[in-house]
């Protein structure tokens, strides 16, 4: 039986998700995800659509936030949880040709 999701597709979604897989892992995940996706045949074949009123719930104007400021957090307590900090900023490795 051909798998619902190929090893290449698994590797593609893993890359999109910033996850590294060994060849064995890719194979196992492809097999497991194929089983799960095969189960979804029951909704894949449905001919259904939603109207907007069903799809969205609309916000009550009262639930919007008034444009007031509150004191931000003490910088120290924010930075305390950070893996690497320099000059009160979060430090990351060089961004090599990874522009968005």
């Amino acid at each position: 039986m051909s798998e619902k999701i190929s090893i290449d597709e698994v590797l593609h979604v893993a890359a999109l998700s910033r996850l590294r897989l060994t060849p064995t892992e890719a194979e196992v995940f492809a097999r497991q995800l194929s089983v799960v996706i095969s189960h979804m045949a029951d909704i894949e074949s449905l001919d259904l659509s939603l109207d907007d009123e069903e799809r969205y719930s609309y916000v009550d104007e009262r639930a919007l936030r008034d444009d007031d400021t509150k004191d931000s957090m003490k910088r120290e307590s924010i930075l305390r949880g950070a893996p690497l900090v320099e000059e009160y900023m979060f430090r990351v490795p060089p961004i090599l040709g990874e522009g968005v």
């Binding site: 996850l19 089983v35 799960v36 979804m40 259904l48 939603l50 949880g81 060089p94």
Partner: protein
């Protein structure tokens, strides 16, 4: 007479603390003793700090002595699932990626419990990021079912359910995305409530699937669950999906009874259960009928599609919710030669297999080319389920069914078969998809000595009616099932 505070319900305990019959420190000492006794074999907690607890207790005791206003939960132990952030305890969501992280703020529910004088006794184990039905997916430990240590406690709120069942806490908070409060409550023989979506604030709940997640109480009795839900059920301006307005009173529903309530048994929900579980549901129905309820079976075909819709929608939202774990601002970082390298290393080492599986499944369902086939269809199915439920609720006030298709399964039994594990949620998922409330109530033991839970489901904001019927079911279990008194 020497009373163990842990034998009391939350109501009586806070009363006893207020009238100075019992001090909070005594409560805490009982909790510590019980944890020392049971925790080594059960492993319900990820964080438990006896010294810090004793300090908190003495602060509360002084308040009580000075006659300061203390809330309705004064001195009552509450165990909190470790996916709700606490400023004074680490919060890990049972993931390596958050090991050692100290959140700089409290979840709204934690604030509400503290404001009510409640005592957060510790953080309980869960499936990593609440993804699972057995608590075996925790990166730190496997929690065991207090009724049988070779069995799972259910999940993902397995630590909370086990802590309450083993009397290491009186109350606990869980979160329920596809059954994660109700299924472990059922497997551990305690009460678990998933409120209407938006009833309890999600602010400070580490998101799994935002449109499905809801925090709710786990307790030994229906009344304690009602009390805790009254404390945490409040409109929160920090959560845009929080329902506006006041929440109804629940505890007062204790004596309302079920006279002339119309209760439906959804045939699609009982079809997939073990015979023993199904028989127990029908027994509950018969007993409710004897108390004046009008019971009938009803069909809601769309609920059978729930599992597929859920396993598209929940992973899709999860794949996005878990993108923030990138090693930049908090939590684990595994360094790399470049930014991308660091992202890959951090996430690859930080997440466990089930989390990776769901991230990939969700990414796949949302990626271009598959969106309409899976995500679009899943949303439409969700609409269909909600519509069909609302159709059914024209003829019925509440629905009755099983919580879990079977009693607790063995540790390791399903851990290599994701689909078999996912099937555990088949009875609980429809309520999350519809956004409706549901309650699991213990209804005796099976022949193997493990608890069976029955589930009551209702439409949006039907919590008062649900509790009314839950109180009745609790009484019926006590009167008719000898083992429920144990």
């Amino acid at each position: 007479m020497e009373v163990n505070p842990l034998d009391l319900d939350a109501y009586s305990l806070s009363g006893a603390v207020l009238s100075k019959e019992i001090s909070v420190s005594e409560v805490v000492r009982s909790v510590i003793a019980q944890v020392e006794l049971r925790e080594p074999s059960i492993s319900a907690f990820l964080h438990f700090d006896p010294e810090a607890l004793l300090e908190k207790a003495s602060v509360l005791d002084e308040k009580v002595l000075r006659g300061e206003t203390v809330g309705r939960l004064v001195g009552v132990p509450v165990a909190v699932k470790d996916n709700m952030v606490t400023s004074d305890m680490p919060t890990t969501a049972a993931s390596k990626i958050l090991e050692g992280w100290r959140p700089p703020y409290d979840a709204t529910v934690v604030e509400l419990i503290k404001d009510a004088g409640g005592l957060v006794v510790g953080k309980t184990n869960l499936d990593e990021f609440a993804m699972g039905s057995s608590t075996e997916n925790s990166a730190y430990k496997v929690t065991r079912n207090p009724h049988d240590l070779s069995k799972v406690p259910g999940g993902s709120s397995g630590g909370s359910a086990a802590a309450v069942a083993a009397r290491m806490s009186i109350l606990a908070l869980g979160s329920d995305t596809g059954g994660s409060i109700r299924q472990p409550a059922s497997l551990c023989g305690v009460v678990g409530v998933k409120p209407t979506y938006g009833y309890v604030s999600r602010y400070g709940l580490i998101a799994f699937a935002s449109s499905l997640d809801q925090i709710g109480p786990i307790a030994r009795t229906v009344k304690d669950a009602a009390l805790l839900l009254e404390v945490i059920g409040e409109r929160d301006p920090k959560d845009s999906t929080s329902i506006l307005g006041e929440r109804p009173k629940l505890v007062e529903r204790e004596a309302f009874g079920v006279e002339s309530l119309r209760i439906g048994i959804v045939s699609e929900l009982v079809d997939n259960c073990s015979t023993e579980v199904r028989d127990r549901v029908f027994m509950a129905a018969r007993l409710l009928e004897e108390r004046g309820a009008k019971v009938d079976t009803v069909s809601a075909k769309a609920v059978t599609l729930g599992l597929s819709a859920y396993y598209v929608i929940a992973p899709a939202e999860a794949s996005s919710n878990l993108s923030r774990y990138d090693g930049v601002r908090f939590g684990l970082r595994k360094d790399g030669s470049s930014l991308t390298d660091m992202f890959f290393s951090t996430r690859t080492e930080g997440f466990g297999d089930e989390v990776k599986r769901r991230i990939m499944l969700g990414t796949y369902a949302l990626s271009s080319g598959y969106y309409d086939q899976y995500y679009g269809k899943a949303l439409a199915t969700r609409g269909l389920i909600r519509r069909q439920f609302n159709e059914v609720y024209k003829d019925f006030d509440l629905l009755l069914g099983p919580t879990s298709p079977t009693t607790a399964f063995a540790i390791g039994e399903k851990s290599n078969d994701p689909m078999a594990m996912y099937m555990n949620d088949i009875c609980t998922i429809p309520s999350n998809l519809a956004g409706h409330p549901a309650v699991s109530i213990p209804f005796g033991l099976a022949d193997n000595g493990l608890p069976i839970g029955v589930q009551l489901l209702g439409p949006d904001m039907s919590e008062p009616l649900l509790f009314q019927a839950a109180f009745e079911l609790e009484r019926l279990a006590k009167e008719n099932l000898e083992d429920a008194r144990a």
